[in-house]
Amino acid sequence: MKSSLERKQRKIGLLVLAMSIAAGVAGGVLARSGTALPAFVILGGLVLVFALAIFATIPWWRSLDPMQRDAQYFGWYWGGAAGAAAALVGIIAFSGTQSILMKGALLVITGQVAGFVLFWIVWRLRHHGGEA
């Protein structure tokens, strides 16, 4: 038997999934528009679509109970790091260090590290207890 929270999470999860798919389709259409639109319109549109997709997950994240959040932290920290390392090893082994794939991977990792540092600083500032 499911608790009320689980039923609520299922509804929110389906909504977030639908919004994410819609964002992906919209992003794909924008990205494939080629020269039909100015580059800044495509860039701005993509940033907006991805920002909306991330904001759409906020209600889902807030609905998680402490154990579910811990599972997300554990999965993303260890699983995300291990998965990225395995992908990097594969890219280096099969396409070398100078390939376009490697450049793309480094760009993604750079973005992740920058995001990590930013959110880490925000978290530490929000949890600073002031003068001892």
Binding site: M1, K2, S3, L5, E6, D65, P66, M67, Q68
Partner: protein, 83 residues
């Protein structure tokens, strides 16, 4: 963290899903806490203790206190404390 959540819940006649609803978590979280597979957050521990009307240390056995394990008493004494 060892606890008496399962005993107390059964003594009060709650299912895991009913208790989960009462403290606004999932049934899996209640199950994991009962099985000593997950240490609850401090707010969740207080929420559970408040729900049963017992002090937190009656529900969760403090592993850092000497003689931990039997000092908090049995379920019937907790039921009396909560009533």
């Amino acid at each position: 963290m060892r606890n008496r959540l399962r005993e107390l819940r059964k003594a009060r006649g709650f299912s895991q899903a009913e208790l989960a609803d009462a403290v606004d978590v999932t049934r899996q979280t209640i199950n994991a806490v009962e099985a000593d597979k997950y240490d609850p957050s401090l707010p969740l521990a207080y929420k559970l203790a408040t729900h049963f009307g017992v002090p937190v240390e009656h529900l969760f056995i403090n592993p850092f206190r000497e003689g931990a394990g039997g000092a908090a008493g049995d379920v019937s004494s907790m039921m009396e404390a909560g009533s």
